[in-house]
Symmetry: C2
Subunit: 405 residues, 2 copies
């Protein structure tokens, strides 16, 4: 942190799952201060006021209008984000909005326009493309010693579909399913590693469980303008756990208790109906009765989004929870990175660089709209369609990959 | 072996790589006897005569006309197989032909017609779809306890492209590249697991090294008639080694020496030109100066073709070199299989069942032509094409999966 630069003052819209997962970052990174929040659950705003000596607001407008708030963190459900970003911009605020930024390209453009008109910044995240090993692999590619990126392989097998959900999270039309929630990570990671410009997308999606009537799995083949291709697969059905390929480290950068993955379905059977399931989910979030505050111990590894391989002319780069494993003619070696004391501090790195140092953002509106475009193409192609041609792709801005801290 | 049933008397066309890899099977399985062989290398036929007290023939015709020969094993280079199969059939012989059976669908049909007219059997193999864990996984699927197959994921990262090659093996038009040689395995495995009927194929292929001007990599998305999809990726560039996901067991079912994989490119630099490289390859095969006879020790694991996952409604099945690992609501458990004393004895199991017990073949002409059709579609789609519709697919015949020995 620059001497004399004041912490970023954040107002929060939505204290649900996304906020709960960002909380260890916000509460421990000195570059951020939480000053106001709104959530429909009074228990959550009250807990917020207690924990952070922040303001418990009774409406999104109240957060956005608060003169103390510099940046609004929009972490409301997918389908509400467009209105909340526009509201924040209308109040002259900079915006950090959760991924996926919206459910349609028009909404993405509206958000971008609103911030452009207001002269405020728009960043999209957290997504796992912020993870340091992803940035490190891209930095290694840009360094030139591995030659061109030729192919990328990404897969992730999780228990996503059987974690407790609100009804809309199981309804694709309202932003549910693994394509909006999970491809948003995987596509962002893959686009970043490949430079950003995807020409077309062919995909197949799986809606296999009538009790969870949304996409629970997909495989996609992305064709980059460079000629590179990428194969992406995701399966959220809770059987095989691809963290077995990640040294047993879970998405959140911590060792996973054995068996936790396969227990997800069994636990869900305790929920008797939709309302009960939604309540189960809410209670696990910040301010809920089943919320477990972060232990406070520093993470042992980086967060990740499953096995990823980048195939280049002169070597393959394998992303791990500890850095980048290089496979080339010389053999196999690990380029380890120091695990930061604060999880997801990479998000604050970018926020800080943009807000306080005038740096070029990586995860801006145009970048993130391009990821939404790929996700929408996965859905469209997956409905039995062909190879979908894309028209709103954005290149990785030169200089967007930060030098290591 | 049935009491009283005589061993199968095999004549061999081609004592090159394919034969060399089948030799440990032929020489140790009592159900087979090698009685005659032809190869253009006199050193190889002479070694054959010495080792097996078999006949060293001076032409393919001589093998096919030999009344001692019951089955002709056609293991000549890809582009010669169609003529050799027809020759064998014309002499009234049954045929075991290496994969890929041919480089075009018309040639496949000609082979099938020739054997049908002659009233002889046509089997295609070895391919890795013979491997016991593949058959076991399909048997588990057919048993019904895991419900429908929904998706299949197969990948394999090898050093294929940088092993010593003859010039035609680097020329796609003459059957070179990883699609003809390696997709032939992977597609056969995936089709078997999915029941056989693939409706369409979308793919991207990589020709990245001008010094090896053929496909060295691909990713493909197969759509099955059942609604299931399969994601296949292959990379033969010799950097990342996917045997790391197979307990360090190599394709041949034996532990791999550390570093062997990445050394392939370095070793190839010793070859000064095409002729020298082809000579290097030939010398490693049966009868060559660098040929290392099989140690004779039984394999420690099954042969395999890289990581494969079968996703079903009620569980995921992971193929390993030791059997099938089941991932379901109960957790993770291994269904291990006894490793046979003779590698690839599964090929002789099928050969014997067809030849001596009148059983339905699995790897017959129609089955294997369907695999060639998928491979050709990978090449066609990979040339910038779209989703290729298939018209010659064959279903897994009911009862084709044998009960375990």
């Amino acid at each position: 942190m620059n001497a004399g630069a004041a912490p970023l003052r954040l107002g929060v819209l939505g204290l649900g799952r996304a906020f709960t997962l960002m909380l260890p970052t916000f509460s421990r990174d000195p570059r951020v201060r939480l000053v106001a929040a709104f959530d429909p659950r009074a228990s959550a705003t009250e807990a917020f006021a207690r924990e952070f000596a922040g303001r418990a607001c009774r409406s999104p407008e109240e957060v956005c209008a608060d003169p103390q708030v510099e940046w609004v963190y929009v972490a409301t459900p997918h389908q509400l984000r467009v209105d909340h970003v526009r509201l924040a911009a209308a109040h002259g605020k900079h915006v950090l909005v959760e991924k996926p930024m919206a459910l349609g390209l028009d909404d993405c453009s509206r958000m971008m326009d609103a911030c452009a008109r207001a002269g405020t910044r728009l960043l999209v995240g957290h997504s796992h493309s912020f993870n340091a090993p992803v940035l490190q692999a891209r930095r290694m590619v840009e360094g030139g010693r591995f030659g061109a990126v030729r192919a990328i392989h990404a897969m992730n097998f999780t228990d996503f579909l059987y974690r407790p959900r609100r009804p809309e999270e199981l309804d694709t039309a309202r932003g549910g399913g693994v394509v909006f929630s999970q491809a948003a990570h995987q596509v962002d990671v893959v686009r970043l590693l490949g430079g950003g410009l995807v020409d077309s997308v062919f995909a197949r999606t799986g809606r296999w469980d009538p009790a969870r009537p949304t996409e629970g799995a997909y495989s996609a083949l992305l064709s980059f303008r460079s000629g590179a291709f990428a194969s992406l697969s995701y399966n959220g059905h809770g059987y095989y756990d691809s963290d077995a390929q990640m040294d047993g480290i879970g998405e959140m950068g911590r060792p996973k208790p054995p068996g936790a993955h396969q227990q997800t379905r069994r636990k869900l059977r305790e929920a008797t109906d939709e309302a009960e399931e939604a309540r189960l989910k809410a209670e696990r979030n910040f301010g809920g009765s089943a919320w477990v505050p972060d232990a406070g111990s520093p993470p042992t590894a980086f967060q990740h989004f499953g096995p990823v391989l980048v195939c280049c002319d002169a070597g393959d780069l394998r992303l791990t929870p500890f850095g980048v494993e290089v496979h080339d003619q010389e053999g196999v070696r690990m380029e380890a990175l120091p695990v930061p004391a604060v999880p997801r501090s990479e998000v604050i790195d970018e926020l800080w660089a943009v807000a306080r140092e005038g740096r070029v953002p990586l995860h801006d509106g145009a970048w993130s709209r391009a990821t939404v475009e790929v996700c929408l193409a996965i859905l469209e192609s997956g409905r039995g369609g062909g190879n979908i041609i894309l028209r709103h792709q954005a290149e990785l801005p030169p200089g967007a990959i930060p030098t290591p801290p």
